[in-house]
């Protein structure tokens, strides 16, 4: 929880709110990659690009 508060404070201080949606998206993709632990999810990601 403190992590989210600090991340929010960081975005506010740096005035980089535009990073938030990208961050969420990347965390989601990153999360998928972490969960997949390898290349199983890769074809799915490639199709998105």
């Amino acid at each position: 929880m403190s992590f989210l508060v600090e991340m929010w404070q960081f975005l506010r201080f740096r005035k980089k709110f535009w990073l938030l949606p990208i961050l969420v998206m990347m965390v989601l993709f990153g999360g998928l990659i972490v969960l997949s632990q390898g290349s199983a999810i890769a074809p799915f990601i490639y199709t998105l690009f």
């Binding site: 600090e6 991340m7 960081f10 740096r14 990208i22 990347m26 890769a42």
Partner: protein, 613 residues
């Protein structure tokens, strides 16, 4: 009492430092304890050591300063990936899991790791994060002997900054200008390190050592194509030629096409004159950039002193040029200029900048204590440790030990020299050194091939008594950290015959070029360490004894390790290295070990024991 623990970790060269009431008490790199070169892990052993040296437990520490800001670094990564998307997917896939698992949660990770020292420890508000380049700038200015200085930090990249210019006055340190990623001198140099087939982040000094064998025939190609360099030293790289922003290599095909040869594969492609010319060219460009930066800073701020840190500040050839250029009257370079030094910088930044404590400059000497900030071993302890591992040794009084060691040196033997506290930073400065007679024409080759097991082109550095430096080198300045390159005095040089002049590259190395050939590079330059009686009395006494016998106040000094091995830390490490190489004698404290006396069964195949750097 206020104790501040500085930590640098998780990228390369992890380290810890402790500052008590503004005094730097101890600092050490994790690699020395784990025996893993450039160890990037949490510096558990280094922290245990610095706390022990200060006589403190983690609970006694008031502040813990980490050397960079992970969120800011993550911001840079994200923005870089976004700006290059969809290129960089492969790199993104490799980077994100590490970030999402660990690096983004570095505060929690640090707290967890810190509890390994003391399960009761609660970080509360004790954890602080300093910006990467501010840590470098703090490590360069606060321990320096100057009251006021321009502070230049140059490295690959921190969070965003790659080059910063700061002004330090008393306890105040303020960054005035920055150049941001991807435009970086450090990464430009690393790109050429990669291109010439050396390891990025560790092979840069090999490129520097290779440069004098070549001619800078590609300097204009680099300046015209790769970099837009302004008069004031500010610059931008043409990213069409580089791949490091999002790829897994430093350079791309366009880069190779520009120079006309592919990236050298270290296992199969030999080093040729082409690679030497490339090394000479990037070295010349680096010097050009650094000199423009220092000249414009000196002119703009009118300050006489310059402090430097960051990996590029380890480029002692460029440092020598800055000194001779004269734009600044005095220069001081942090001996642990790389990321390890960030631990010192972060702790000192917390003391002076965050806690606003006054600072006294200590002109003419600095506050690094000769950089002898690591572990030392008492004579009793040394004897017990050596006995336990089966070493055969003789113990002398201090004078007798110096006499024995000097006799061996005069006889042309290569010695392991282990005395007092271990050095902090990449250079061995007479605490954990391999030493020899610089007058011997075969010493360079012997040390490279039989002791250090490293490439034969690499030069060795001289240790010279401070009071004699100007008689032997074109330098009359303190260089206690081996961070200034100067030429051997002309009267000591030997003119090469026209036949020898025709030799190219490495063949030239075997030509005796001066009265001290083992430390004279092919261009007559030498990476000088001045030895001071105040900071290393034993080493000073040894060189003085050698001088008395031979008239030469110079020794060859190279780090006590083999290629790919961290510098030795303990007497046991020293004994293993001694038994694994062709060293003739080992001096540990007042103990002397001779190779023929040792149990031959303790010999080991040391050459293959470490991954090559």
């Amino acid at each position: 009492m206020t104790a501040i623990l500085g930590i640098s970790a998780f990228y390369h060269d992890s380290a810890a430092a402790i500052v008590v009431d503004g005094t730097l008490v101890a600092a050490a790199q994790e690699e020395r304890f784990t025996r893993k070169k450039h160890d990037a892990g949490y510096p558990f052993h280094a922290i245990e050591y610095v706390l022990g040296e200060a006589g403190l437990g983690l609970g006694d520490v008031d502040h813990i300063a980490f050397y960079d800001k992970p969120f800011l670094k993550f911001e840079r990564l994200l923005e870089t990936y976004v700006s290059y998307a969809p290129r960089g997917l492969k790199s993104f896939r490799m980077a994100m899991p590490v970030w999402l698992r660990e690096k983004l949660f570095q505060k929690d990770l640090l707290s967890r790791e810190l509890r390994r020292h003391d399960p009761e420890f609660r970080p509360g508000n004790k954890l602080m994060f300093s910006e990467h380049h501010f840590s470098h700038a703090a490590s360069a200015f606060f321990p320096s002997p100057f009251e006021e200085a321009v502070v230049l930090t140059l490295d690959g990249v921190g969070e965003w900054a790659t080059t910063t210019l700061a002004i330090g006055r008393g306890k105040d340190l303020k960054i005035e200008k920055e150049i941001h990623f991807p435009h970086s001198i450090g990464l430009l140099y690393s790109a050429f390190t990669y291109y010439t087939g050396f390891k990025v982040n560790s092979g840069e000094y090999k490129v520097m050592g290779l440069a004098p064998y070549g001619t800078p025939r590609f300097k204009d190609v680099i300046l015209e194509n790769l970099i837009d360099l302004k008069d004031d030293g500010s610059f931008r790289l043409d990213m069409q030629y580089f791949n490091y922003a999002v790829g897994l290599t430093m350079t791309n095909q366009r880069f190779s096409d520009l120079f006309g040869e592919p990236v050298r594969q270290p296992e199969k492609d030999p080093l040729t004159q082409f690679h030497m010319d490339i090394a000479a060219s990037v070295q010349a460009v680096t010097e050009e950039i650094v000199l423009r930066l220092t000249r414009s800073a000196a002119q703009e701020y009118g300050i006489e002193n310059l402090c430097m840190a960051g990996g590029v500040a380890l480029n002692c050839v460029a440092n020598g040029h800055i000194l001779r250029d004269g734009a600044f009257k005095d220069i001081w370079v942090q001996p642990a200029a790389g990321d390890a030094g960030g631990a010192v910088g972060a702790a000192l930044a917390a003391w002076h900048t965050e806690l606003k404590n006054e600072r006294q400059s200590t002109s003419p000497s600095d506050k690094m204590q000769g950089s002898y900030l690591g572990p030392a071993f008492a004579q009793d302890d040394i004897e017990q440790r050596l006995t336990a591992i089966g070493a055969k040794f003789e113990t002398f009084e201090t004078d007798g030990m110096i006499t024995e060691a000097a006799t061996a040196l005069v006889d042309g033997k290569a010695l392991g020299w282990f005395q007092g506290r271990m050095e902090f930073g990449p250079r061995a400065l007479g605490g954990r050194s391999i030493i020899g007679d610089p007058r011997s024409p075969s010493m360079q080759k012997t040390l490279n091939l039989k002791v250090k097991y490293r490439e034969s082109f690499r030069p060795f550095a001289p240790s010279v008594l401070r009071e004699d430096v100007n008689d032997w080198f074109q330098l009359d300045y303190d260089s206690p950290y081996m961070l200034l390159v100067a030429d051997v005095q002309e009267k000591l040089r030997r003119t090469m015959t026209s036949e020898e002049m025709q030799l190219f590259g490495i063949d030239k190395l075997n030509v005796v070029r001066s009265d001290i050939p083992a430390v004279t590079h092919v261009d007559y330059s030498a990476r000088v360490q001045t030895v001071h009686a105040e900071t290393n009395p034993l080493y000073h006494a040894l060189i003085s004894e050698f001088k008395q016998r031979t008239g030469c106040p110079v020794l060859v000094n190279t780090s006590f390790n083999v290629r790919g091995e961290p510098i030795v830390c303990t007497p046991e490490d020293a004994f293993r290295c001694f038994m694994g190489t062709d060293l003739d004698m080992l001096v540990v404290g007042r103990c002397i070990l001779r190779k023929p006396d040792q149990d031959q069964a303790l010999k080991q195949d040391y050459k293959e024991a470490f991954e090559l750097d």
